[in-house]
Point group: C2
DNA sequence: GTCGACATGTAACCAGTTACATGATTAA
DNA sequence: TTAATCATGTAACTGGTTACATGTCGAC
C-alpha cells in the first residue's frame, strides 16, 4: 500500500514549514517572524492565510498542534513539525528543480512608459525610490551586524547569506536610481 | 453631474494601456510584446487575462476596438487608446504614490532554510542560478546593444533605462550567487 | 502530414488580500 | 481612556493560472 497521496503543496506551505523548523510557533508568532525575515527576499503572507495554511498542514500530518492556555493572554495554538513535515521540508530544499526569482517593479514599469509622463514627476519618483532604498540598505546592514554579533549558540551562515543578498539587490537598485536620475536630468 | 465613477484599475490595466501607447495592438500582439519587454522587470500576464482585461478597458471607455478581417489569417481585434485612456495612463505614471518593488526569490528562500538541506544540493542550486543569471545577462546586454543601434525614428531613453535596471539586478544576483557558493564551499 | 505561428476565447480553480469580528491586558 | 500587543478566525472578493476548445495557413 503506497503512502497517502502527497498533494504537492504551494511554496507558502514550505515557507511555513521552514519557519517552524527553527522552533515551534503559533500563527501569530509566524506572522511576526515572517515580517522580520523572509519578507525581505520572499514575501510575508497575510495572517488569515497563515491560519488557513496551518490547518492544511495539520490535516496533511506535517505539523502538530498544541493548545496552550494562558491567563494573562489569550490562549494559543503552537505548531511544531512532525518527522514527516521535516522530511518534506528537506526534500523541498534539496530538490533539483530551479525556480527563477520574480521581480516586479512598479517604478520600472512607470519608467518604461516614461514617454507618457511629466519628466519632473518621473524624477521625483526615482528620488523617492532612492530614499526608500537607502533606508532599506541601512536596515539590512544593521541586521548584518546584529547577525555577526550573535552568540555561538546559533549558526548565522544562512541568515547572513540572505541578508547579503538583500544588500546586493538594494545596492543595485540604488545605483540604478542614481544613474536614471542623472540620465533624465541631463536630457534636454 | 460628475463623470462616471472611475473604478480604480489594477496595475495590469495600466501595463496594457502603456503598451497600447506605443501602438494599437491585438491581444495576441500584446502578449508577444509583454514577453519581450515588461516581463523583464514586471511580469507577463497569461493571454486569457489579457483578453479579459481588454474587455474591461473597452467597457470603461479607455480603449477602442476595431475588428479587422484578414484572409490569410484569422480575423483580429485591434485595440487603441482613447483620449481618456491616454489621460488615465499619464495620470497613473505621474502619480505621486510610490510602490515598493516586489522581489520573491525561491532560491533565497531555500538558502534561508539551508540548515535543513544537503549542502551539496544547495551549492548545486546556486550554481544553477548562476548559470541562469549569466544567460539572462547576455540576453539583456544584447538588448542594450540593439537599443543603442536603433534608428533616429524612435527614442530609446526609457527602454534603455529599464534594460540597464535589469542588468544591474542581474549582476547583483550573479555576485550574490558567486559569494554564496564560495561561502558554502569554504564551510567545514 | 505534422508542426508552429496566428488568433480568440471559456471554465475551473486557487492563492492571496482586505475588511470584519471578538476580546483580554498593559502601558502611556 | 485610548491605543498597542496578544491571539484567532470568517467572509467576500479578485487577480491570475492552467487546461480546454477551435480553426486556418504556410513551411518543412
Amino acid at each position: 500500500m503506497p503512502p497517502a497521496p502527497l498533494a504537492d503543496l504551494p511554496q507558502t506551505s514550505f515557507a511555513i514549514l521552514g519557519m517552524l523548523s527553527f522552533e515551534p510557533m503559533s500563527g501569530y508568532d509566524l506572522k511576526q517572524f515572517a515580517d522580520k525575515s523572509i519578507s525581505h527576499f520572499y514575501w510575508s503572507p497575510a495572517k488569515s492565510q497563515i491560519y488557513t495554511e496551518l490547518r492544511r498542514l495539520k490535516k496533511a500530518g506535517l505539523v502538530t498542534e498544541e493548545h496552550i492556555e494562558q491567563d494573562a493572554r489569550p490562549d494559543k495554538r503552537v505548531y511544531a513539525l512532525t518527522p514527516e513535515g521535516n522530511r518534506r521540508l528537506s526534500e523541498w530544499v534539496d530538490s533539483a528543480d530551479f525556480e527563477q526569482h520574480m521581480f516586479k517593479s512598479n517604478v520600472m514599469l512607470r519608467v518604461f512608459f516614461g514617454k507618457s509622463a511629466n519628466q519632473k514627476s518621473l524624477i521625483e519618483l526615482l528620488r523617492h525610490n532612492l530614499t526608500f532604498e537607502r533606508e532599506q540598505l541601512a536596515e539590512l546592514e544593521a541586521m548584518e551586524q546584529q547577525c555577526l554579533a550573535s552568540g555561538p549558540n546559533y549558526d548565522p551562515t544562512f541568515t547572513l547569506l540572505t541578508i547579503r543578498g538583500g544588500i546586493e539587490f538594494t545596492k543595485a537598485s540604488i545605483r540604478w536610481s542614481e544613474e536614471s536620475i542623472k540620465s533624465l536630468e541631463s536630457r534636454v
